[in-house]
């Protein structure tokens, strides 16, 4: 029996590597003025996945090593209420029209992917993984767990929708001749969750605030609606 187990046995090495990779990703993100493609999750993933493959480490072993991070998701989701409340108080008189826009926009986000996947004849677990694609990833993965969808596939779809939305939302608004930063913000938040919020704040505080409200309400709505709808339809 070893009195002082090697860090490789304890999983500390993977925890350190994951944190360091994420830290590098954060640097890349801020240095690139928060470009959606250089977000910390993509950069960290491009560092950690090859490391897992090169060392022939099973995903289950890795997940166990960094279990601590996953556990912290719960408290952090509860804490989301604080920035959401702060954004809500800044929206004021535009709140109710914004709420209607978010409910309808989020419904399109949830239904569009699922309908297309159904038409393509995809497996149920993959169709379900598509429904929360515009919901912020931690909430989307909680929902995926309740739906019986594949969690990591859900995260991949959320990332794809988020990068697409954050890169194109402003261009889509300009295409319609819309300059209003409140509109740009709602589109970013409803379509591209936290990547859209970061994009919004990088352009103006007003755009960021409306994006945060869009993201927050979309997340709550999806968490309340998707599991009952799935239970009813299936």
């Amino acid at each position: 029996m070893e009195l002082y187990p090697l860090p490789f046995d304890t999983g500390l090495a993977w925890l350190l590597f994951t944190l360091a990779a994420f830290w590098l990703g954060t640097l890349a993100y801020t240095q690139s003025a928060k470009h959606p493609v250089l977000n910390p999750m993509i950069v960290a993933g491009l560092l950690v996945v090859p490391a897992l493959l090169l060392t022939d480490t099973a995903y289950a072993t890795y997940a166990e090593s960094v279990e601590m991070l996953r556990w912290l998701t719960g408290p952090a989701i509860v804490a989301l209420a604080v920035p959401l409340y702060q954004s809500l108080t800044q929206v004021r008189q535009a709140f109710f029209p914004a709420l209607v826009v978010i409910v309808l926009g989020a419904s399109v986000a949830m239904a569009s992917g699922a309908v297309a996947m159904q038409l393509l004849g995809a497996d149920l677990a993959v169709i379900l993984a598509m429904t929360p694609k515009s919901v912020t990833t931690p909430v989307a993965m909680e929902i995926a767990g309740r739906l019986g969808a594949l969690e990591a596939v859900t995260a991949l779809f959320v990332l794809t929708a988020g990068v697409t939305g954050a890169l194109t939302a402003n261009a889509v608004c300009h295409l319609f001749g819309i300059q209003d930063h409140r509109v740009h913000g709602l589109v970013l938040g409803v379509t591209a969750h936290v990547l859209g919020v970061a994009r919004g704040y990088s352009i103006s505080p007003e755009m960021g605030t409306f994006a945060a409200v869009g993201m927050g309400i979309t997340a709550i709505l999806a968490a309340l609606l998707l599991p009952p709808i799935a239970a009813f339809v299936l």
Binding site: V78, L104, G105, L150, T160, D180
Partner: protein, 113 residues
């Protein structure tokens, strides 16, 4: 700071308990977040000591979900050969959502003075 973490963990506990007992379809952390939002609205403000720890926790959410997201290497095989089409659907759905949301917001938001 400590008070914030006691409240957060208490709300998470209540959320998980309510989820397990009455609302198995709604995730416990979401119930906890809704409860905290309700408390903040009822209170009419965020205590100053909550702001820094809340922003710290929320700012690291992407890190906390990174391990679960990397599970894609274990789930990849389940996506099959369809993955380019599936990712295109996710991207196209995002574009459609952006267009619909933009037009709705333009039509429904009160005009600026």
């Amino acid at each position: 700071m400590l008070g914030f973490f006691v409240l957060i963990l208490a709300l998470l506990f209540v959320g998980e308990a309510l989820s397990a007992a009455f609302l198995p379809i709604i995730p416990g952390p979401i119930i906890g977040m809704a409860l905290l939002l309700g408390i903040l609205i009822a209170r009419g403000g965020v205590p100053a000591s909550f702001v820094a720890p809340a922003n710290g926790l929320v700012g690291l959410l992407t890190l906390f979900i990174l391990p679960a997201s990397l599970g894609i290497i274990a789930e990849w095989g389940l996506l099959g050969d369809g993955w380019p089409i599936f990712l295109t659907v996710a991207a196209a759905g995002a574009l459609l959502t952006a267009a619909v949301t933009a037009l709705l917001a333009w039509a429904l938001l009160p005009r600026r003075q």
